[in-house]
C-alpha cells in the first residue's frame, strides 16, 4: 500500500507528530530535522493523505462548483477560470452537473457538503429559502443569483438588457419581444425588469414570452410564438436560445437580420460561430469564476469571522455583430 506518515517517522527515527509538523510547515520543528524528514519522505514517495487530514482539520482544500448544464457553452470559460485560479490558491475544484434538475441540485449539495469546504452555485434554480437554509450548513457563493445573507458574484445583465433594447430601438425597431429563461432564473427576472424599463424609456413596445428551456431547442420551439407577436426585434435569454430562434425562423423562411433582428446573451463561442454572427450581451464569465473562487476561499478561511458576505457586480457590454439591423419595413 501507499506510504503513511508512520513509515516516514520510522525511517527518519522520529515520532509521527514530528513528521506531521514538518509538513504543516510548522516552524515548530528544528530546521535540519524538518529538512531531513522531508528528504526521506520525498524519496519514499510519501504524500499526505488528504482524506485523513480533512478528518481532523475539517478542511479539505476542495471546492465544489455546481452548474445546471455543462453542455451550455456559457459555463466552460467560467469553470476553467475557476479551476486555474483555485489551483494557484492551493485548492481543487470539483465540477458537477445538475441536468437542470432541482432535486439533483439539492442532493448534490448535500453529497458534496462533507467533501468540500464550500460550494459555488452558478445560476441555481433552487428556491430562495432552500438556498438560505443550505447556506447555513456550508459556505456558499452564488453566481448570477442574489439571496440575502449570502455572498454573490453578479453580472450586470440588467444593464446589458437595457443596452440591447436601446440598440434595437436606435436601429428603428418599435416592437420588441423578450424570450425569457427557465422558471427560477434570477437572470431572466433581471432581464425582464430592465428590458421593460428600457422599453418604456425608449417608447417601444415589449412582449415577454416565458418561461422557456435555456437551450437551442427551447429557442426552436419558441420561434412561432415570437413571430405571432409581430415583433421585429428579439432579445433571447441566452445565445443558445437565440441560435435556436434563428433556426426556427429560418425553417419558416424568415431571414436574419433582414426580416428580424435577434440578440443573445452570454457571448459564447456558439454565438461567434453561428451564421449570421450573433449580436450579444457579453458576460464576464472568466472574471466571475475567479471572483467566486476568491470570495469562497475568503469565506472559508475566515470562518466564524462574522457575516462577511460580499456582493460583487461585474459589468457587461453589448457586442454588435451581424444578427441585428434596421427593420425591413420601418414604421410610417
Amino acid at each position: 500500500m501507499a506510504m503513511t506518515i508512520r513509515d516516514v517517522a520510522q525511517a527518519a527515527g522520529v515520532h509521527v507528530s514530528t513528521v506531521s509538523r514538518a509538513f504543516s510547515a510548522s516552524h515548530l520543528v528544528k530546521r535540519e530535522t524538518r529538512e531531513r524528514v522531508l528528504a526521506i519522505a520525498a524519496d519514499l514517495g510519501y504524500r499526505p493523505n488528504e482524506t485523513a487530514r480533512a478528518l481532523t482539520t475539517g478542511r479539505t482544500r476542495n471546492l465544489g462548483l455546481i452548474v445546471s448544464d455543462i453542455a451550455n457553452p456559457f459555463y466552460p470559460p467560467l469553470i476553467k477560470a475557476a479551476q486555474a485560479y483555485a489551483r494557484v490558491r492551493g485548492y481543487q475544484v470539483f465540477v458537477a452537473d445538475t441536468d437542470e434538475d432541482v432535486a439533483v441540485e439539492e442532493e448534490l449539495i448535500r453529497t458534496l457538503a462533507r467533501q468540500v469546504d464550500g460550494v459555488i452555485l452558478v445560476s441555481p434554480r433552487l428556491a430562495n429559502d432552500v438556498i438560505g437554509r443550505l447556506g447555513g450548513e456550508l459556505p456558499f457563493v452564488l453566481v448570477n443569483r442574489s439571496v440575502a445573507g449570502l455572498s454573490a458574484v453578479l453580472m450586470d445583465v440588467a444593464h446589458g438588457a437595457a443596452l440591447a433594447v436601446e440598440h434595437l430601438a436606435g436601429l428603428g425597431h418599435e416592437h420588441l419581444a423578450l424570450v425569457g429563461g427557465p422558471r427560477g432564473s434570477w437572470t431572466s427576472a433581471q432581464m425582464r425588469r430592465a428590458a421593460g424599463r428600457a422599453a418604456a424609456d425608449q417608447g417601444v413596445r415589449l412582449d415577454v414570452l416565458a418561461p422557456n428551456p435555456p437551450t437551442e431547442h427551447g429557442g426552436i420551439v419558441a420561434a412561432p410564438a415570437v413571430l405571432e407577436t409581430g415583433a421585429t426585434g428579439v432579445i433571447a435569454y441566452n445565445d443558445l436560445v437565440a441560435i435556436g430562434l434563428i433556426e426556427g425562423f429560418d425553417d419558416r423562411g424568415v431571414r436574419i437580420p433582414r426580416d428580424l433582428s435577434v440578440i443573445g446573451v452570454d457571448d459564447t463561442v456558439a454565438g461567434r460561430l453561428n451564421r449570421p454572427r450573433l449580436t450579444t450581451v457579453a458576460m464576464p464569465t472568466a472574471a466571475a469564476g475567479r471572483t467566486a473562487v476568491d470570495l469562497l476561499i475568503q469565506t472559508v478561511e475566515t470562518s466564524g469571522g462574522g457575516p462577511a458576505t460580499a456582493q460583487t457586480v461585474l459589468a457587461t457590454s453589448l457586442v454588435v455583430r451581424d444578427s441585428t439591423a434596421t427593420p425591413a419595413h420601418p414604421a410610417g
Copy 2:
C-alpha cells in the same frame, strides 16, 4: 456542528457500532433496532460522514474524470453521461480540466488519487510509460487511448477516418489533406494510419499536416498550409479544427464546399451549428462515458480480482452534411 454517529447512538440508547451497522445495511442488526435507529437518525438530520467512512473502508465512492479542455464541445456529452450513470450506481464523478498541460495532468492525477476510487482519463496526453506507472497506483480507465494492461474505451476513429477518405474519394477528390491533432494524441495517430491506408486503397494522394492544437484557432492557423498542398478535400482532427479551417479558408476567399470539401470528427454541436453544416465522423461520446464508468466501477469493486482489464471498442459513423461536395475542377 453536524450530527455524528455518537449523537445518534446516544439518542437511541445503543452503541455506536450498532448505528454504524444499521447504516451499512448489515443484516447483523435486529430489524426493529435498525428501524428505530434509522428513524432517530433521520429526524436528527444525521448523514454519515463520507470522509470518515473513506478512511476506514478505503473506498470513497467518488470517481475522477480528467479531460484536457472542458470548452471543447466533444466533452460535455461524455461528462454528462458519465455523471448521470455514476449517480445511479451510487457514485459521484468529479471533473477536472488540464488545460492541455501534461504537467497539470500528472499533478491532477496525484492530487485526486487519494480522494477517489479510480480515474477516467479521456484522451490523455501523457506518455505511455507514465500512464502505465500511474496505473499501478490507482485504478484507471482510459478513453481514446490504449496502453497495455489498462482498461480502455476506444472509439473506432480509424474506421471513421477510412469512411471519410472513401466519401471524399467517392465524390471525385483525388488529392486529400489530413490536418492532425496534438502530439501525444492516440486518436490522431489512429486517424493518420487508417486514412493513409484508405487513401492507398482508393488510389488518392494524402498529405498529412501535424501536429496542430486541437482548437478552432489551430484550424485557422493551419489553413494556409492546407491550401499550399493543393488538396481539394480535407479531413480535420476534430470539428473545432474543421471549423477553424473553414474560417481560415473563408478569409482567403476559398468557399466551402464549392472550392474545397472539409470533414470534421466528433459530431459536436459546434459542427451542427456551423454554416455550412459540417460533414463529420460521429463519435459515441455518451456511450463512451457510460462504458468508462461501468468499467471503472467494475475494476474498483473487484479489486485484487486479477488483471481484469477490458478493452471496449465503440463504433463510429460518417454523418454527411453540407461541407463536402464534388470537387470544383474534376481532374481530367
